[in-house]
């Protein structure tokens, strides 16, 4: 019998990066399904485009960097990045949007910083911010949820919309006009800036329930996926609950102070990308803080930032900016929130 001699930790599991990433991807399925149901088949095509781009980009850049291509591709991190980016962008955005975003995420944000494990910023969110900053028009035109629109977006329709932007621009198809509109958060923000109160704005058909048609369901589905991830111990609860808690507390205060000009806490939690960010994006182990206390601070920071940017900022949703800003602070948080080593006094 051979004894394996190794330094601690002695308890190891077979849960490697590729399995963790695969589980994250699988837990995204409920949310993606909900998105396909409410917003049509566009997202499906975006996912395929993002995946193809991500794998080609990752393979080429790894080759350039003289790294093992096949082994690294198998870690599934490109898969998760591509998925997160593809579901974050509008389903009917032109094809080059998702391609540019994925290229930027994989090549510049991930690999030029040293590859998986060395990136400072969450690749998917950095790619998203690049797109939002560069192409604000395309990035804020979200598909009308199918119960508000007259027809739902089928696969053929989505293909046409994504690959031939003229299809929309030239107005070949008049009914296409009704296919895209601003997201509920965006609509509400525009209305508030035009002097309407929240209550008046909420009478619009897109706000048929509290968080906007479709968005409530999508967020609920991501919440379910996130809870499954918690159960599988893919992520820990600190970051997600800190985000949701901080966002809930901030928005409740705002709503109590002046319900006419503030968005309700329920809408904050169940509209936009809140649940996706809380469970799938902010919990990225590479770019988040590492200790339990650090994660609570990191999450709370994201929650507060989401509230501040949504309420006072110029962009319709704030999740991506909040995550990136918190990413920047993660090393700083880690530096000051070190777990106490056994035998040392705390604070030393």
């Amino acid at each position: 019998m051979a004894f394996k001699i190794a330094s601690s930790p002695h308890v190891s599991t077979s849960l490697h990066t590729n399995k963790v990433m695969l589980r994250v991807a699988l837990c995204l399925i409920p949310g993606i399904a909900a998105q396909l149901y409410f917003f049509g088949a566009g997202t499906f095509i975006q996912i395929i485009l993002a995946l193809v781009t991500a794998y080609i980009a990752e393979a080429s850049i790894l080759k350039l960097r003289n790294k093992p291509v096949a082994d690294t591709l198998k870690d599934n991190s490109a898969l998760v990045t591509a998925l997160l980016l593809a579901i974050a962008i509008p389903p009917l955005a032109p094809w080059w949007i998702v391609v540019i975003g994925t290229l930027f995420a994989i090549v510049i944000v991930k690999n030029l910083y040293g590859g998986l494990g060395n990136n400072i910023f969450n690749p998917a969110m950095a790619g998203y911010v690049l797109l939002l900053v560069s192409f604000p028009v395309q990035m804020t035109d979200w598909v009308t949820p199918h119960s508000v629109a007259q027809h739902s977006v089928g696969l053929r329709y989505a293909l046409q919309g994504i690959f031939t932007p003229e299809f929309i621009n030239l107005g070949h198809n008049i009914s296409f006009d009704g296919k895209t509109m601003a997201t509920p958060l965006d609509t509400l923000k525009t209305d508030l800036s035009m002097g309407l109160t929240t209550t008046e704005s909420l009478l619009k058909p897109i706000f048929a329930n509290m968080a906007g048609v479709g968005w409530f369901g999508v967020n609920l589905a991501y919440l379910i996926g996130g809870l499954i991830m918690l159960k599988l111990k893919v992520i820990r609860w600190h970051i997600s609950f800190a985000i949701l808690g901080a966002l809930f507390i901030c928005s409740s205060f705002g709503f109590m102070l002046n319900p006419d000009t503030h968005i309700s806490p329920i809408m904050h939690l169940f509209s936009g990308g809140t649940m996706l960010a809380a469970f799938f994006i902010a919990t990225d182990p590479v770019t988040a803080a590492t200790s339990a206390k650090g994660r609570l601070i990191f999450g709370a920071m994201i929650g507060v930032l989401i509230y501040i940017i949504r309420t006072f900022g110029g962009y319709p949703d704030a999740v991506a900016f909040a995550v990136l800003l918190a990413n920047m602070c993660a090393p700083f948080i880690d530096h000051y929130v070190r777990p106490r080593a056994y035998g040392h006094r705390s604070g030393n």
Partner: protein
């Protein structure tokens, strides 16, 4: 023994103010959204740099060491004011589009850096040539960066060249490709940082290749036959 080739090499490549010394990053990143702006600011900086190097070199023996920096700053500020007034008079459009960055040339570290590190220690001709080479090196980086960002961002080159060169230059504008949507990131400051990082990386790659290609000088190992004890 002429120092000129060495000075030229330092200014244009080895010690390029933009790519290696990373001086003057603020104007470098802020105004390079189009080739015209980049060229305009590059030329203005070049003028100031040559002038300040000449003047500093002339007065270097009369200025007490303790107050040299204020004196240099005064010289530079004077020249910047001259250049600013000239541009205001002859290229008003460019003056408007360069905005605050034109007077801010006075704070460009390349200029005070060259005055302190080179012109205050070298002869007039050498200093003037150093100013010229450093200025060209800086302008080249600005132009490459401006060109890259303009092509990626708007798909044009030399847009607004008439601001710099007069009415006739309006026809210089080249439409590299037609874009429906400007790629805003390339025009915004983050794009400048990313493009700058890529340029520096490119320079380092080229340097590495040159170093690898160059035959390594034989390490001259002196083997001593015997060691005598020195007491």
């Amino acid at each position: 023994m002429s120092k000129y080739p060495e000075i030229a090499k330092q200014g244009l490549w080895n010690n390029n103010p933009g790519l290696v010394q990373l001086l003057g990053l603020c104007p470098l990143l802020a105004v390079t959204a189009t080739l015209t702006n980049a060229l305009g600011l590059g030329l203005a900086t070049l003028l100031v740099l040559v002038g300040s190097n000449i003047l500093v070199s002339l007065v270097r023996d009369f200025v007490p060491k303790e107050i040299r920096i204020p004196v240099f700053v005064m010289i530079i500020a004077t020249l910047v004011t001259c250049v600013q007034l000239l541009i205001n008079a002859y290229a008003y459009g460019l003056y408007l589009s360069l905005g605050i960055f034109l007077p801010l040339i006075v704070t460009n570290c390349v200029i005070i850096g060259r005055a302190e590190a080179f012109a205050s220690r070298n002869s007039l001709a050498h200093s003037a040539f150093d100013g010229l080479m450093m200025g060209i090196g800086f302008t080249l980086v600005l132009v490459v960066l401006g060109g890259m960002r303009e092509i990626i961002g708007q798909g044009t080159l030399f847009a607004g060249a008439d601001l710099l060169l007069g009415e006739w230059a309006a026809s210089l504008t080249i439409h590299v490709w037609q874009v429906d949507n400007a790629f805003l990131l390339a025009i915004l400051p983050p794009g400048a940082f990313i493009a700058m990082g890529l340029l520096i990386a490119l320079k380092n790659v080229i340097d590495q290749k040159i170093e690898q290609a160059a035959p390594k000088p034989e390490a001259s190992t002196v083997t001593r036959a015997r060691i005598t004890k020195v007491s």
